[in-house]
């Protein structure tokens, strides 16, 4: 009974936060505030030292339950070739995009894991398509859909329906750089009010401009005591600083070439139910085409989501000024 109450409380809490914060219109993935140039998935024959640890990336789209119109998932530069993607020798990579809805698309535990294993492709496949090098889709959009919101998995906690898209590098060894947009239209990007997107592992490409600063926003759920921040193949390219409502700026360890590095933070009461801002500043000695992977787990080894629109907004540190009188 007690745990039920707790769960209900947790859900209400998230609903409240979502209703407060997800009033935005932007469902580009990555989002504008994240300032991440592209998502990244390599062909499965690539060396992990190129930056992708598992050649797969899953993203979830949340459609608010009030929205009942068809929608589309658009992919920018879905092919692997041309000027944006990263070639290894010659273009030989095929990537699949698979859209899932229905029961278990999110509630299946494997779906929320960081590694593509088990029943991670849970739910009902609604659409799929493979892309190799294809100038037609280079530097342009491909649209999946229309989808009926009712095809998603209804999750009460979110008061909305969830869809999932998995990009996998099924062959080759090149790097596929792409973006998504959740749109009300097939041929243009028109956001859905109140929608959001999230992932449990973020695989992306860093900017090549050393002056660009990127962010991702993990959400600290109730019950979180500590978080373990893991990052892969950072190439020691600058630093990662954690900012929150209670943390003015705390640098965490970043990885070198082709390996994972972890750092752990104890969560402060004030941070529960808010987002962290992981800020990435590149090193001055430029590392070009740096691809990285980041995930966060709590003390129970459960993954924490990164929302493209940070829950509660971009966290701003607010200190507490003290005045101690001195004789």
């Amino acid at each position: 009974m007690h745990s039920k109450c707790k769960e209900m409380k947790r859900k209400l809490y998230i609903i409240l936060l979502l209703s407060i914060s997800v009033l935005g219109f932007s469902q580009p993935v990555p989002n504008v505030e994240e300032n991440i140039p592209h998502l990244m998935t390599f062909g499965k024959l690539a060396e992990t030292s190129w930056g992708d640890d598992d050649f797969s990336q899953a993203f979830f789209f949340l459609i608010p339950e009030e929205y009942d119109q068809p929608f589309f998932i658009r992919v920018f530069d879905p092919d692997t070739g041309g000027e944006i993607d990263e070639i290894a020798g010659e273009w030989n990579t095929r990537c699949t995009y698979e859209v899932f809805g229905g029961e278990g698309v999110w509630t299946e535990p494997d779906a929320r894991e960081t590694h593509p294993s088990g029943n991670y492709k849970s739910g009902t496949m609604l659409a799929s398509r493979a892309f190799a090098e294809n100038p037609r889709y280079d530097n342009s959009w491909y649209t999946f859909g229309p989808f009926n919101p009712a095809q998603g998995e209804y999750v009460e906690m979110y008061q909305g329906r969830i869809f999932k898209i998995i990009c996998e590098g099924v062959s080759g060894d090149d790097g596929n750089m792409y973006r998504y947009f959740l749109s009300t239209e097939a041929d243009e990007n028109r956001p859905i009010e109140g929608a959001n997107a999230f992932a449990y592992e973020y695989s992306f490409r860093m900017h090549n401009d050393v002056n660009e600063v990127s962010h991702i926003y993990p959400y600290i759920e109730e019950g979180t005591v500590t978080v373990r921040i893991s990052n892969f193949d950072w190439d020691a390219d600058g630093n990662m600083v954690v900012i929150s409502v209670a943390r003015q700026g705390r640098e965490v360890r970043v990885s070198g070439e082709d390996h994972w590095t972890e750092d752990e933070l104890r969560i402060l009461d004030e941070e529960i139910g808010t987002s962290f801002d992981f800020r990435f500043v590149k090193a001055r000695n430029l590392v070009r085409n740096n691809n990285v992977v980041v995930n966060v787990r709590n003390q129970r080894n459960e993954t924490l989501p990164f929302y493209t629109i940070p829950i509660g907004g971009v966290p701003r540190y607010r200190g507490e000024v003290e005045f101690d009188p001195i004789d």
């Binding site: 600063v213 630093n239 600083v241 209670a246 943390r247 003015q248 700026g249 705390r250 640098e251 500043v281 701003r316 540190y317 607010r318 200190g319 507490e320 000024v321 003290e322 005045f323 101690d324 009188p325 001195i326 004789d327």
Partner: protein
């Protein structure tokens, strides 16, 4: 062995001869006069004969008198001296008469002393002794107050048939007895002795020693609840005016050297006895000032009562300013500073700053991001409001050496809208002062509570002015 103390006539002659010297001495007073006391003769008691050693009891005063109107069968003793009898003057109705009829004899009685609860009385009385047929010794006796009746009269166990023990002074709890006696180990004629009640018996009288006693006479002790012992003496070095009043206190097991009380307690005449109330605001003096015979004077002050004074709240101007939540200070990534009212920048994540005065100060933590070469959008801000507390303010050192004059300053008193009539000081050592700035020297080490009372200016003579008061504690250091 001297008889019961009478003012020697030779002293009167000497005093007249030495009058010019006394005037000179007055110009160099040994202690500051306590001119906040007003002294007046208790005319309802005075008879023109000798009255002395007044102490309050219930709604009146108990004293000794030579008055012939006492109803004693003979007004003189066998040597022709007038008898002293214990009298009681009741304020209500102005009635006076023997305090206890049963004590009225053909010998000397009194003075008396009571415990603070009025249940025990010590008194001196002359009684015949089989051991001494030459004269009737004066001894000390006790009586218990049982439902208004003084009973169980019993002698002090160290009464001496060959000595006179008189003018007892009980401590408030009745467990210590001081008295004057011409016991064999007396330094002079009469000395002050102390005896303590231990295990139901009184300890052997202890001579208080040369800090108190002299080759002259020490008479009429009075032990105040503060621990001060008052007495009269004609033997101390600077005492050229016959009997004067002195005080001493037991510090570290020793009685301090007797100090002469200032005016108005001492005069050029003989001053024999003093009794103070607990706060030193009123009491009785026995003196022959103005008449040549011992008379009882009352004294009081117009020092107002300080009801529940508050401790002074200090106004702080110097502060350590910091962000309580800032758990990680990374000076490689960030540069921290505090911005005061958008005008003054103090470097550091934690600063100490003395604000120039009362006012509102907006203090904002500024964080400069070294990597991004920009200021971090900050929300760490708070306003410090420094305002003066509405109170009477005492400015003085926290620690004061003994016997060192120190200025106590009330000029920083902040009571807007309060029309201040006068500043009144209570120093916690039984002395007072008046004025916005006063100088005071503490005579004994210890911790004292100084109270500054600020009295509203009266609009009409009959107004009862409001008094605001605050206190602070000072520590007086050093040896007496």
């Amino acid at each position: 062995m001297r008889p019961f103390p009478m003012t020697p006539s030779i002293f009167n002659e000497m005093k007249k001869a030495l009058l010019p010297i006394w005037i000179l001495l007055l110009l160099l007073p040994p202690a500051a006069a306590q001119d906040y006391y007003n002294v007046r003769k208790q005319t309802r008691i005075s008879t023109g004969l000798n009255e002395a050693a007044a102490v309050p009891f219930e709604d009146g005063v108990v004293y000794i008198t030579e008055s012939t109107s006492v109803g004693a069968s003979s007004p003189t003793d066998p040597l022709g001296r007038r008898l002293f009898t214990i009298f009681y003057y009741r304020e209500k109705g102005g009635v006076k008469g023997p305090f206890i009829d049963a004590l009225v004899t053909r010998r000397h009685e009194g003075p008396v002393s009571f415990t603070s609860d009025g249940t025990l009385m010590a008194f001196s009385q002359q009684r015949p002794s089989a051991a001494n047929r030459d004269f009737d010794p004066l001894g000390i006796y006790f009586a218990d107050n049982v439902e208004g009746q003084w009973t169980n009269i019993r002698p002090y166990e160290h009464n001496d048939p060959f000595a006179w023990l008189f003018s007892p002074a009980l401590s408030p709890d009745g467990r210590t007895l001081f008295f004057s006696a011409n016991l064999p180990d007396a330094i002079g004629g009469f000395d002050i002795y102390k005896s303590e009640l231990k295990g139901g018996s009184w300890t052997k009288p202890e001579n208080l020693g040369r800090a108190v006693n002299t080759s002259g006479e020490e008479l009429y002790p009075f032990f105040h609840p503060s621990g001060k012992l008052y007495f009269s003496s004609d033997g101390h070095d600077d005492n050229l005016a016959g009997y004067d009043l002195f005080e001493t206190i037991l510090l570290n097991g020793k009685w301090t050297k007797a100090r002469k009380l200032p005016a108005p307690f001492n005069t050029l005449s003989n001053d024999y006895h003093v009794w103070f109330d607990e706060n030193f605001k009123s009491g009785y003096i026995t003196s022959d000032r103005g008449s040549g015979s011992k008379e009882i004077f009352t004294f009081g002050t117009d020092i107002p009562e300080f009801e529940a004074p508050e401790p002074i709240k200090k106004t702080y101007y110097k502060y350590r300013i910091y962000d309580r939540k800032l758990d990680t200070v990374d000076t490689d990534l960030f540069r921290y500073s505090w911005l005061i009212n958008d005008t003054l920048e103090l470097p550091g994540h934690e600063v100490v700053y003395r604000f120039p005065g009362p006012g509102r100060y907006v203090c904002k933590l500024q964080v400069y991001d070294r990597q991004l070469d920009t200021l971090v959008e900050g929300q760490t801000v708070k306003t410090l409001n420094i305002e003066l507390n509405e109170q009477a303010v005492i400015t003085c050192p926290d620690t004061i050496p003994v016997n060192t004059p120190v200025v106590f300053d009330g000029s920083e008193t902040h009571l807007p809208g309060f029309n201040i009539g006068r500043y009144v000081w209570e120093f916690g050592d039984g002395t007072y002062g008046e004025g916005i700035r006063v100088t005071h020297a503490y005579r004994y080490p210890g911790t004292y509570r100084v109270i500054l009372g600020v009295e509203e200016r009266k609009q009409n003579r009959r107004d009862v002015p409001e008094v605001r008061s605050n206190f602070r504690d000072v520590v007086v250091t050093g040896s007496d």
